[in-house]
Symmetry: C2
Amino acid sequence: MEKFKVTFYPDNKTIEVEKGKTILSAAISAGAYITSSCGGDGVCGRCKVILKKGQVLSQPTGRISLEERKRGMHLACLATIQSDLEVEVPPESRLDLEKLTQEDLELRLKGLYSESEEVEPATSVLGEEIFVHSPLATKLYLELPSPNLEDKISDLERLYRQIRRIQDIPIMQTGLANIRRLGELLRYSDWKVTVTLGKRNGTTEIVLIEPGDTSQKNFGLAFDIGTTTISGQLVDLNTKKVLGTKATYNKQASFGSDIITRIIYAQEQDGLEKLHHAVIDGMNQMIQELVQEHNIDLNDVNCVLCAGNTTMVHLLLRVEPTYIRREPYVPTANFVPTIRASEAGIKINPRGLLSCVPGVSSYVGGDTAAGVLSSGLYKEEDLSILIDIGTNGEIALGNKDFLIAAAASAGPAFEGSGVSCGMRASKGAIQKVKIAPGDFKVNYNTIGDVKPRGICGSGYIDIVAQMLGAGIIDKSGKIKAGDSRCVRNGESGREFVVAFKEESDATSDIVITETDIENLKRAKAAIYSATSVLTKHMNLDFSNIKKFFIAGGFGTYLDIDNAVAMGLLPDLEKSRFMFIGNSALAGSRQILLSYEAMKTVNEIARKITYFELSVDPGYMDEYMAALFFPHTDLSKFPSVRK
Amino acid sequence: MEKFKVTFYPDNKTIEVEKGKTILSAAISAGAYITSSCGGDGVCGRCKVILKKGQVLSQPTGRISLEERKRGMHLACLATIQSDLEVEVPPESRLDLEKLTQEDLELRLKGLYSESEEVEPATSVLGEEIFVHSPLATKLYLELPSPNLEDKISDLERLYRQIRRIQDIPIMQTGLANIRRLGELLRYSDWKVTVTLGKRNGTTEIVLIEPGDTSQKNFGLAFDIGTTTISGQLVDLNTKKVLGTKATYNKQASFGSDIITRIIYAQEQDGLEKLHHAVIDGMNQMIQELVQEHNIDLNDVNCVLCAGNTTMVHLLLRVEPTYIRREPYVPTANFVPTIRASEAGIKINPRGLLSCVPGVSSYVGGDTAAGVLSSGLYKEEDLSILIDIGTNGEIALGNKDFLIAAAASAGPAFEGSGVSCGMRASKGAIQKVKIAPGDFKVNYNTIGDVKPRGICGSGYIDIVAQMLGAGIIDKSGKIKAGDSRCVRNGESGREFVVAFKEESDATSDIVITETDIENLKRAKAAIYSATSVLTKHMNLDFSNIKKFFIAGGFGTYLDIDNAVAMGLLPDLEKSRFMFIGNSALAGSRQILLSYEAMKTVNEIARKITYFELSVDPGYMDEYMAALFFPHTDLSKFPSVRK
C-alpha cells in the first residue's frame, strides 16, 4: 500500500500514513489534536483544516463555505490523503491538549475551575410520589435479643433473623469486613445496632452495621454526569427531601469538549486514568461541599446514583470507551452492576454503593433513560417527545407502547461553555432578556437578582431570538451594521453588548459575538433536525406529538416562545411544551429513592430503540436547512413568519 | 470487693485480682500462660499448679492424685483465690508462649515445621456420585457472535446472553475488574472466551473471563482445617478426580495445642493476626506444593472449600473468636458467606472463591457437618453414630429424622502430636502393631513399608491394646516391671521400646512412655464418655445404634478390635463399625464438587442440635470411669473381659 508523509502545522508533527486515510485519522495518529464533535461523520464541521501542499479527495460538504474552500479549507474527516501533505490546523480547530503530567493537570484544573455552584433546579413535571419509597440504601434500627443458653444462634444469623422479622429478604449478603467486627460491635452496643441495607444486583447487602440508632442519618447523592456539566443533589433518603443541588463543569473538558476527542484521548498513555480522575475529582469536590454545607458526616452518605451518557459512565468507572466509537459502536456495558462507590474512587462511606442508570447504546445513555423516566413519557397514551438540550442533545419519542431515541452532537453552547461570556445557570447568570426593537435597549434579569456575571443557556436563547426580532441579526446570524453603541467590532469580529462592564460583576463587557451566534445556530440546528428526522423516521409529523418535554441545565426558566423563534423547537401551540429542567438528574433522584423506579428504568432502557441519525439519508439536508434562524423553510415556522 | 495479689513463678508475674476469681483467670490476666484444653471446665486436668503460699478454695477433682494434693497441687481452673498467693506453674502446665515478633514467629515456624506430606486417604464409605456434579466453580467456553450493526448489545450483555443460552441463571453478577478489561479481552480473543462461574451466596458470579478455551483447566481445593492437622486435596473440578492429598501440622500449634488457649491468645496484641497467618501460611504452602507437583498453574485453581471447627473457621477468616468461649458461647458466624479467597490471604487465582462449610455452634463446626454429609448418616433410617477422633473429638448421633452432636476435648495424641514419638499418618509411620504375649516381640508395619520414623494414631491404638493384651501395662496404663529389654526407665519415667534406633529411620529409639499412655487414655476416655453420655441423653443404648462411622486422620487403616480393646470404642459386633477416614475432608470435597451437596450440608448444619457435655451431670463420672483400659466397669466390655 502506498504511503505518504503528512505534516501538521503549527505543531510541526509528521507522520507516514497509508493512501486513502483521512486527514483526521492521520492527525490523531500524529498527536496533532483536532477538534471533532461528531466523531468524523462530517456533521459537526469542527475539524476544518487548511491544505497548504499536496492532494486530497474531499467529499462535498455544506460545512465549508465557498470562501473557505477558496482558502484551501477541508473537513479533516472527509478529506482522504492522495499525496504527501502539509496541513495547517487553524486556531479554531485546534484542540488545546498538551501532554500533561499529573501535577500539571492538577494545577491546571485548580486554575480553570472554581468551586461548584449552588443551582436552583427546575421542578420536575411529575412529583416523585409516583414510586414507592424504597431507596437504594435503607437503614433499620434493630434491638436484638441478646443470646442466652436457650437462644445461641451465632451473631450473624441473629442479625439476619431480626432483619427478616421486619423485611422479607430472600437473598441477603454481607462482606467479611462487617463480619470481622460484628462480635465486638454487637456487645459494645448492647445488641442495639443500625444496619444499612443496600440493593445490589438482585440481592440485598448489609452494607454497614453501626452501634446504636443512627437510622435518622441516611443520605444519598443523585448525579447527572454530563459531558460539559456535572450536577449533583444531596438527598435525605428517609424524608426524600433534597438538601442541596450543585453543578460544576466536568473537568474532563480539559481533554476535549466532546465525547469523541475524550474517547481518543483515553487511548493515550494514562489517558483513561486522567479522564477518570477528572470526573471523580469533580464529584468528590461537590460531595465534600454539599456535606459540609449541610453539616452531614461523609460516613452517613451511603449511596450514589449516577445518570450519564454511555461514555461518561465508562470513564466514571475507568472502563475503556474505545469501542464506543468503532464500528459497530458497541459499549462495554450498558447495564453496569452496582458496586462499592470506593471502587470507583468516590468518597462517601467507604462501604457505600454506586449505581448507574442503564444505557441504551453507545450514544444514548442512562441520562436519556432517566429523563424518559422522570418525564413520564414512557407511560402516556399519547405520543410525546423529550428533548434534552446538552452537549449531547438527546431526543426520545414514544409512548407507553414504544420508545425510540437519537443523539445529536450539539456542542456545549447551551450549557454556557465554548461561548465568549457563557456561564452555567447559577447566581449572576443573565437568564431572561428583552431587546427593544427601536433603540436596542437591553432589559435583562439575572439568577438571584444580582449584577450579571455572564450569560446562561436560557439567556442566549432569549438574546438570539430578541436580536432576530429587533433586526440586529439576519437569518444567517450575521450582526447587521447598526448605529447603536451596543453593536461594534470586537477583537474576534462583530459583537453585541448585552451588559456593559460598569453595570456588571464581570471584568469586561458582557457580549455575544458572531462566533457565539454561529455556535448557537449549529447547536439548535443539530437538535431541531434530529427531532425532525426522528419524527419523520416514525412516519409521524410534529402535529401528531401531543407533548414536548424540554429538558436541560437551564435553571428554573426557559422561554418557549424565544426557543421557537430561534428555531430550536418546532412552531406549535405553546401548551404542548413543558419545560422540565434537568430531567436526567430528576430521574436519577427518583431511582435513588425507589427500587421500583430502578426496575422501571431498567425496562425503559431495554425498551428504547436506538436510532442512528448519521445513517438516515435525510439528516444532513435537514441539518443544513436548519442552519438559519429560525429555518430555511419559513413555512415550518408560521408564527415566526408573522 | 476485696482484692488480692497473686504472683506466678517462675515467670515472676504479679497481678491484683478480686477475691473469688480462679487462679486460671488470674494467670491469663497476668500473662502467665497455663495450658488448658477444656477451657476451665475442670475436665482436662492440664492446668495443674502448685500453691506455694496463701489460701484457695478448691473444688474436689479426680484429676489431682492424693500424692499431688500433698505437694500442694490444684487445678488452676477450680481453685478460687482467698488471700494473697504465690503460685508455681510446673513445667508440664506451662504454655510455651512468648511474645513473638513476626520475624521470631517465622523463624520458629520454619524450624518447627517441614513441608507438608503426601497422605493416602481412606476411601469414603459412600462414593461422591450421589450428588449431581456442579462444582463451586464451573468453566464455560463461549463462542460469542461478534457484534454488527444489527446486533449491537453491549459486550457485557452479550456475554450474559450467551451464558443464559446454556444455563438458566436468574441472578448473575460480575465485578468491576472483569468489566474493565472486557472490551479489549473479547476483541483480542476474537469473541472466544472461557468464563468461570462461581456460586456465591444464592447468586452466580462471573469470577473470571479468559481468552480462548481454558475450560479444561479448572481446579479446586478441599480442606479440613483441624486444630492440630490441616489436610488438603487438589481436585480436578471437571473430572472430579483427586490429584493429590496432603497433610501438615497446623502452625497455630505454636500458640497452644488446644482451641481455648488459641482463643485466649487471639486477644493478645496481634494475636489474632498471628493465628490467622499461621493457618493461611500452612494452607498456602500446601497449595503451592500440590500445584507444583501436578504441574498446574495457580491461576487455574478457582476455588477453595474449607471444613473446620468453628474456632478454626473464625481464625481462618480473621474473625475474633473471643465470644466462642464466653457464656453463652456464641460464635460470630456459623454460616459465613462465600468470599474471594484472596480476602483471607489464600493464594489461588486472585479472583477465586473461598467457601466454608457452615458450623452448628461454638464447639461443633463445619467439620462435623461435613462428616455427617460424607458418612451419609443424615439419610439413614436406622440410628447411627459418627465418631470423629481428633484434637476436638466430635460425636454425632441420629438418622434421617434428627441429628444431635457433642464435642469432647481429647487432645492431639491420636493425631500423633503431644506424644513422644508421634507423627502423622504418613510415610514411615508405624500404623499396625502386634506384640507377642510371651517375649514382647514387636511386629509392626509402616505406611509405605519403609523404615519407621514414628508412630501415628492407629499405631498407638494397636500398641496400647497389644501392651494391655500382653500384660505390659495394667488397666491404669502403668508399665509393669518386665525383664524384656523393651521395657526400661527412660528420661521421663518408664517406657516401652517399639523400634530400636538401628532398625529405624529415627534419631533415637521409637518408644511409648507412661506419659504418652496417660495422654492416650485421657483422649480415649474423653471420646468414649462423650459417645456414651450423648447416647444416654437421647434415652438410647449402644445396642440401639446400627452403625458406628469412625473418622479421623488415621490414614488408610484402623484396627477396630484394638480400638475396642483399649476402650476407645464400645464393645459391639465388629460389623457395626465402619472406618471412613477423614470424613470432614471427604465432605468438603463433595461440597466443592456439588452445589447440591452444599445445600444438603446447609440443611444438616441447621438440623443438628448441639449438646453441651459439660452441663450434663453424669459426664464427669462417665469420664472418670473411662480413665481405665478399657473401662472401670468391665461389664461394658464383655469381649475384652474374655
